[in-house]
Symmetry: C2
């Protein structure tokens, strides 16, 4: 089943211990859509400027991504630049030029409104809510991401927004911040009381935890020999997770939902996040195949089962 | 099969966000032996002073631990005191009084020398080597622990010592320090070239990784609602890991070794480490039962399988 993805399509400058790229395709929506495109048809809602390159449009189209909702307006595309610490666990933002993204007011094309799956990338919670409201009701599955800035400064609006979501995907420090609990078990229980029936807490290189009322599921992070560039890994996780659910038509709200399908979605999220780190930016997705993805899924089974 | 454990038997003072205990039974050998006692018969080699309390002797005896190698000499027992950070990921050493441990020269009773399993707790590498040499040859399985201090200042002696070991159990920062590699995959390959056919890298709350030539196995850390006191958790991991191998008679060197038994040993190590944190010091082991242990083993299966 198809899924709508809302977020940023941007250009990034990135420096890691493996090298430096001054400008390359980036943005949460880009990573999510490319990752999800291996499982379902993503329809993106985003805004770019006149500088958005044809080759980047072509890459998205080559992966079957629907660009009807990719608005092109006068001005320059969102630009972000950052530099990673030697161990790549921290990064410093060097440049943030919102450009056309500053006035982003997402509008869904009519052809998107009955898509059964909606993934709201990390943007202002009020905008996430407005996109949700534009969809035809009822929607099969809606979820998304957020970040420390919205949790700290837009808390009331964020709580109103996620109250309508089926799932929330955040990292461990965001989960602690949102819940006010240091212990992840307590944090997860509090967050599920805020609305989402499903919570995924990402822990970077240490993997992820899936939380549902019936229990939790833990997966360690895939061990790479070389992490070239972790930019977008969390978004690729989201794209693999939601993409798999959409591809299989899983309904998280249903009493008869197959819990193992949700666990498999977490593994596919982890797989896609790991591939993302193997090259700079979105480069790994230019050559990646579904059989490589399924091969790594089997590797996860192999190194976690006993 | 029985196993010999060498290391410190001590008194600890510990402060965590959950409280403060001025003096309680501690020491690596104590934690290892108590943990292993649920799987096999541990025989300890250690030294204590005249202050070692009868109730502490009684606790060890009640768990079936052989104390023939527990030397009692004039003076005071090793005392260590530390204080944990609010998130308990760091700790500050407040007091280290080596006392009788300063002259510890482990001597194996004859009744220990043909034990098939030998676990060398974290002591000076030269002493670890001398204990290995006292055992009747050949020995079925030998392994142990070390720490940053020995890696930095006793490197040559440490390398000579672990060259004879079947397994090494260390944490991730120690693995990086010993190998000179930041990436854990590369670090593990280098360490296995130093001798051990099996390596376990402990990652604190994030679990552990087992490395063998045929591949690796990853287990996430158990999520506790409350960590009362993490002191000894790594030693309890070692005791559960080696205790299970000894109990099952696993030979890591054998070509026909059942790899799943080694994975199960890692899970039992994780289980014992998690129980250790539930109370101050060794308190959890006063009431713990094998059926609680097996119940938590099943929990690990439940929250990791897909």
């Amino acid at each position: 089943m198809s899924m709508v993805v809302v977020g940023s399509v941007a250009y990034d400058g990135v420096e890691t211990p493996h090298g430096k790229i001054d400008r390359m395709l980036g943005g949460a929506c880009t990573y999510i859509a490319l990752s999800a495109s291996f499982f379902t048809q993503p329809k993106i809602v985003a805004v770019v400027g006149e500088d958005f390159a044809q080759e980047d449009t072509d890459l998205l189209l080559s992966r079957g991504i629907d660009l009807a909702g990719l608005e092109r307006v006068p001005g320059k595309s969102f630009f972000w630049a950052g530099k990673y610490s030697p161990d790549m666990n921290d990064r410093e933002t060097l440049v943030t030029e919102l450009n056309v993204f500053a006035d982003f007011d997402p509008k869904l094309p009519d052809s998107y409104k009955s898509a059964p799956y909606l993934l709201l990338g990390n943007i202002q919670p009020g905008l996430q809510k407005s996109v949700r409201a534009q969809m035809n009701q009822p929607i099969r599955l809606v979820g998304g991401d957020t970040m420390n800035y919205w949790i700290a400064d837009f808390r009331a609006q964020l709580l109103e927004t996620i109250a309508e979501w089926d799932f929330l995907l955040i990292n461990d420090s965001e989960a602690r911040m949102l819940s006010g609990e240091t212990n992840l078990k307590k944090a997860a229980a509090k967050i599920m009381d805020m609305g989402p029936n499903t919570l995924v807490i990402k822990r970077g290189e240490y993997g992820a935890i899936l939380w549902r009322r019936e229990g939790h599921f833990m997966v360690p992070g895939y061990l790479l020999e070389d992490v070239f560039d972790p930019t977008g890994a969390g978004d690729c996780f989201a794209g693999g997770f939601m993409g798999y659910l959409a591809g299989q038509g899983v309904d998280l709200k249903s009493d008869s939902v197959d819990h193992n399908e949700i666990r498999k979605a977490v593994i596919y999220g982890s797989v896609m996040g790991s591939f993302c780190c193997e090259r700079f930016g979105v480069d790994r997705f230019r050559t990646l195949t579904r059989s490589e993805i399924d091969g790594r899924f089997e590797e996860f089974k192999e190194f976690t089962s006993f």
